[in-house]
Symmetry: C2
Subunit: 360 residues, 2 copies
């Protein structure tokens, strides 16, 4: 039901972004970059969580030297995040970074930008033009105020400079903490340029409110076919960011990974503890990577209807439940066996080689 | 930036739904309805959480008699949720319910529906036509399969019957556990009818995945101007549902309530513990109902830019922070005083009578 907007394709290391490539999930290390051991440990933990690209902030030459070591120790696609000091970008390129992110609002004169672009071109790596509402150029702010148009103009100005240098290995982001401003900015830009878009809501807040803002904002953009790679920003761990990122893609049916639990909110009709059941089933199926819908339903109203549509489903009534597999009732189970039986049925289905096709 | 679709207006007790009324937040009791004390306690707790309409499932005559007592003990707008047995709907009306929810897929013959409609009309209360993908009429499923069109046809069939009885005091919901099917169904219906829409994603799953699915689905619908009242379904507490509901409306700038924390995701640049800072500030400002943006930022890149735009902001650097109030730096504070000073500044701003205008 989603028609994805057509964009050019670029590559960050082994990961393709734009065109028909799957929408990739990225995050950023939150350790001190100069602390090589901690940063590498976080990169590995992010890899386990399914993160496909990791961004690292380089804020001084200690960070840059640490990056040199980090680069040698991991094949994870790495992006260096640079503000203020263009020389750190040059160093990152020299040390084998897979992509650069610079902020047009603070990277400095066009001579400096030119030097960075030339280095990226020689190394055949892309640059993200990462516009933030919180750090826009003063003259643009004067003309447009804090509006989506200001963000778009900041990006377009930089795109034109890059194109003038015959450099088109670009992706663009336009982030604001306000969801609708962010959405509007990406929508306007997506009509002006066909560069791949890196989407996200910036400064989204704590794990709770950041998850809601990100899911709403990314949901709106993705439903309009906008976005080629995403990063969820949370005041929380980067692994949580990756989990929310995949959950959003899963929610829209764009990428599937692991089990999608369909469970009822429970109500006065429910005679079993669906909350515990669903949480326990979700927890015990975290090891499954195969995309599957698993329904955990507590009553006879919508239970059978949802269970029959899921890959594996449980419709529980008064002390007993029916287990469904691919639309057929296959077992009647007692309340105390529901979780074990449901988990066993899912594992068995996965072992049988059952696969849904991935939608992109 | 959001243009809301024009709908008719109905009332559930004191709460208006549709037209230019604020988009209301509702939930459903999860206690056994027949347990009057627990159900009433949950209604009160929902009221404290900001819930504006409470739905209660009536599944047998014990529930109906319990409802009679519940109705007498609270002035909260109450909706009775009825499946299978139309007589329970008639009882709920007699006992003073403010609205009915029936499911076209299971309420029975048109004679029975007519009787319910006549009772609602005499009592001057609205009926929600609550279509669930999990319980559609068989002939419709045969024709359309499990598609958005099937849900829309189920609703339209019932709307026509109601209109034939000269009853237009209607709201409609079309819920599926699949986000994009739900969105598509509401979009199609919103072009066919101007009845107010009750939106939500059903069987959305546990607190984590249910929050993501609901925020994405409701975000998409609301951004298209669709939706007059909402319910977030979580396999969790109803109070959490209300909190997520408001968080979605807040994220899109549709309704504001309390403090909106803007906080950075932290990265290798950050020299203070922003996660703890932001969570602590969020927690200590839960008592504020006035809508305010409060920025908690950890570095010099986007910190000052976000802090200056917020109502109250903190841009922290290396052991010190600057506190902003309505765009001006008003104080320099040490790390250990940041939370106290920020909280005091917010409380002082609220006491001064400062108010943002509410966007609807």
């Amino acid at each position: 039901m989603i028609k994805r907007r057509r964009t050019r394709q670029i590559s960050i290391g082994r990961v393709k972004i734009g065109g028909s490539a799957p929408i990739s999930v990225q995050s950023m290390t939150k350790t001190r970059t100069a602390d090589v051991a901690s940063t590498l440990a976080q990169i590995r933990s992010l890899e386990d969580a399914g993160c496909e690209i990791v961004r690292i902030a380089l804020s001084d030459s200690d960070d840059a030297e640490a990056f040199k070591k980090i680069r040698k120790a991991t094949d994870m696609p790495l992006v260096a995040d640079i503000h203020f000091d263009y020389r750190l970008a040059l160093k990152a390129v020299r040390y084998g970074v897979d992509g650069l992110r610079i902020n047009p609002g603070n990277i400095g004169s066009s001579e400096r930008v030119e030097e960075v672009v030339r280095a990226a071109k020689d190394a055949d790596i892309p640059i993200r033009i990462g516009v933030n509402a919180g750090s826009l150029e003063k003259d643009i702010l004067k003309r447009h105020g804090h509006t989506p148009w200001a963000m778009v103009e900041s990006a377009m100005r930089r795109i034109e400079i890059f194109e003038g240098l015959d450099f088109r290995d670009i992706k663009v982001s336009l982030k604001a903490s306000d969801v609708m401003s962010t959405v509007e900015a990406y929508r306007i830009l997506s009509e002006k340029a066909d560069y791949p878009l890196h989407i996200g809501i910036t400064e989204a807040g704590t794990a709770f409110s950041g998850t809601v803002k990100s899911a709403a904002g990314l949901g709106i953009l993705l439903s309009q076919g906008i976005g080629d790679t995403l990063r969820v920003s949370l005041t929380g761990t980067p692994e949580e960011e990756v989990r929310v990122g995949y959950a959003v893609l899963k929610a829209l049916g764009i990428r599937k990974k692991g089990v999608n639990i369909i469970s009822c909110p429970t109500c006065g009709r429910v005679k079993v503890d669906v909350v515990s059941l669903a949480c326990e089933v979700e927890r015990r199926l975290l090891h499954i990577d195969t995309p599957l819908d698993v329904a955990v339903m507590g009553c006879v109203v919508n239970g059978p209807g949802e269970a029959v549509q899921a890959d594996v489903g449980l419709a529980s009534g008064d002390g007993v439940g029916l287990i469904y597999r691919r639309g057929e009732v296959v077992k009647k189970v007692k309340e105390e066996d529901m979780v074990d039986e449901l988990v066993a049925m899912v594992e068995d289905l996965v072992l049988s080689g059952y696969k849904k096709s991935e939608i992109i």
